[in-house]
């Protein structure tokens, strides 16, 4: 998510392919190092939706379709 832009795709790939996974891991670390939070939106079988906040690449469910990075929260 970016001000003035909305959603921006920063990396795409298949985690089953080693070269793709390495690239995705590097981009994931880069975004977190830049101070962003990462979340994976989930849809359960009963229709319930929620997000999972992830702090490392290994916490991302292997079947996740996407990870959304957004600015870190700050007290307003």
């Amino acid at each position: 998510m970016k001000p003035g832009h909305g959603e921006v795709v920063i990396a795409e790939g298949d985690v089953e392919l080693p070269q793709d996974e390495a690239r995705l891991v590097a981009e994931f670390r880069h975004q977190l190092d830049a101070g962003l939070w990462a979340a994976v939106p989930l849809a359960h079988a009963d229709g319930h939706r929620e997000a999972v906040m992830v702090r490392s690449f290994t916490e991302i469910p292997r079947d996740a379709e996407r990870v959304i990075f957004f600015p870190r929260a700050a007290g307003g």
Partner: protein, 198 residues
């Protein structure tokens, strides 16, 4: 006589120069300032609108159908808190998420307003000159942070009494609108089930 007049004229000229010199200097500086080229960001009036449209699509793809309909029709999303009451077994509190306003906590059983959690998601890199996310991105960020890690978000936010930034009367009215909206929605679902029993 001529000498005296000349001296007087020189003195008068010096006095006049002292008087008008600052004014001339100021006018010259203003003239230069007007001619100076100041680089301004190129403003695109459609950019914010396009960003919001993109953000709405992302929000729609993440939250449930009910939450999306709630946001589209009422302008906010309700998120249930994770703490349940030992006595009733029900949810102790819930939140209303508004775009670029504090998250409002309330007791769903009574409708009592509990507090405002002031939180922002500023992008310090300020792409396009602004640190503010589009409205729907702000709502989605709050939704993800609340459903994903309620405790961390609440710990980050500044807690204030109800009504500090969001008018308590407006929130109370929104809760009433939400209950009416849910009743209508339940009636629609019941009608659909009656019409097409499975």
């Amino acid at each position: 006589m001529v000498l005296a007049l000349s001296v007087s004229a020189l003195v008068a000229l010096a006095l006049v120069f002292d008087l008008i010199a600052p004014r001339v200097k100021e006018l010259w500086a203003r003239h230069l300032a007007r001619r100076q080229i100041i680089s301004e960001p190129v403003l695109d009036p459609g950019q914010e609108r396009r960003a919001e449209q993109t953000a709405r699509e992302l929000l729609r793809s993440c939250v449930g159908e009910e939450e999306w309909a709630m946001y589209r029709e009422l302008g906010f999303i309700r998120v249930w808190g994770t703490h349940t009451s030992a006595r009733s077994g029900g949810v102790e509190h819930a939140y209303l998420i508004y775009a670029h306003k504090p998250i409002v906590a309330f007791a769903p059983q009574t409708g009592k307003l509990l507090g405002e959690y002031c939180v922002e998601f500023p992008d310090d890199t300020r792409p396009y000159g602004s640190s503010r996310l589009p409205d729907s991105d702000d709502v989605l960020a709050k939704w993800m942070a609340l459903t994903g890690d309620e405790r961390r978000l609440i710990a980050t936010a500044n807690l204030h009494m109800p009504g500090r930034q969001v008018d308590a009367a407006v929130v109370t009215r929104d809760l009433w609108r939400l209950s009416r909206w849910e009743q209508a929605r339940m009636r629609d679902i019941a009608s659909a089930l009656d019409a097409h029993p499975q």
